[in-house]
Symmetry: C2
Subunit: 140 residues, 2 copies
């Protein structure tokens, strides 16, 4: 199994060297050896990075993501946790959908004051006063 050096990983994954080093520092990934000073990685790190990227885009923190992998680097989540995370994601999808609907409403409804339009109000009702939850920043 050929090893890839950090430059190659960056090129193929779009994740910068500084970020890779940071991820290693916080224990999210690891390099298997060095060529001189250069970190060398197993090719499967690319899959892992794709997963990390995906999860970040989904609003998970690096800590949460780290919790999704076993010591051996495999994805390893107890079933109930998977269920829980899937539910979190569904919840987030609902919120995004609501937001999109609001935007569409704004685009279509010619009322001068959306903030008072009843159907607009109705859309927001579901958003209620969900209290403080803490999630993570996606990547642009």
């Amino acid at each position: 199994m050929k090893l890839l050096d950090i430059g190659e990983i960056t090129e193929r994954s779009g994740v910068k060297p500084s970020t890779l080093r940071y991820y290693e520092e916080v224990g999210l990934i690891q390099s298997v050896t060095r060529h001189g000073l250069r970190r060398q990685y197993e090719p499967q790190i690319l899959t892992k990075l794709a997963l990390i990227t995906l999860a970040k885009a989904g609003g998970f923190s690096l800590n949460e993501i780290a919790g999704m992998f076993s010591e051996q680097g495999q994805l390893q989540i107890p079933r109930d946790q998977i269920r829980e995370r899937a539910d979190q994601i569904d919840e987030q999808i609902k919120e995004l959908t609501a937001l999109r609907d609001v935007l569409h409403h704004v685009a279509d409804c010619p009322a001068p004051s959306h903030l008072e339009c009843p159907s607009f109000q109705r859309m927001l009702k579901t958003t209620g006063k969900r209290q403080q939850t803490k999630r993570k920043p996606p990547t642009k």
Copy 2:
């Protein structure tokens, strides 16, 4: 139109006083007057806060959110921008869906090594090397 003081806003919206003051500082909201020192708000700020909460949950930054409101505090986005934002949201929904599918796969596929399972790989392919995009953190 009765005014609400900050305590009431906090109670009804779930947004802390310190956060409200911060939002005001950055120009996202404004209080209309004071009762003594106490900020007083128009009731419609509640709708605005609901929108803000929603948009934050959708991964928008406060700056982006601020850009969605006109000077007068109404939602006011040019149509093409709405379209753009709606597309952004759809994109994010796709990513979240992919993530959820990956989780479900992990829950169901008994293969010892997901990272090598071909259907797993396939799911990640779509995630490709989308380069650096910058989005925002939801609330837990």
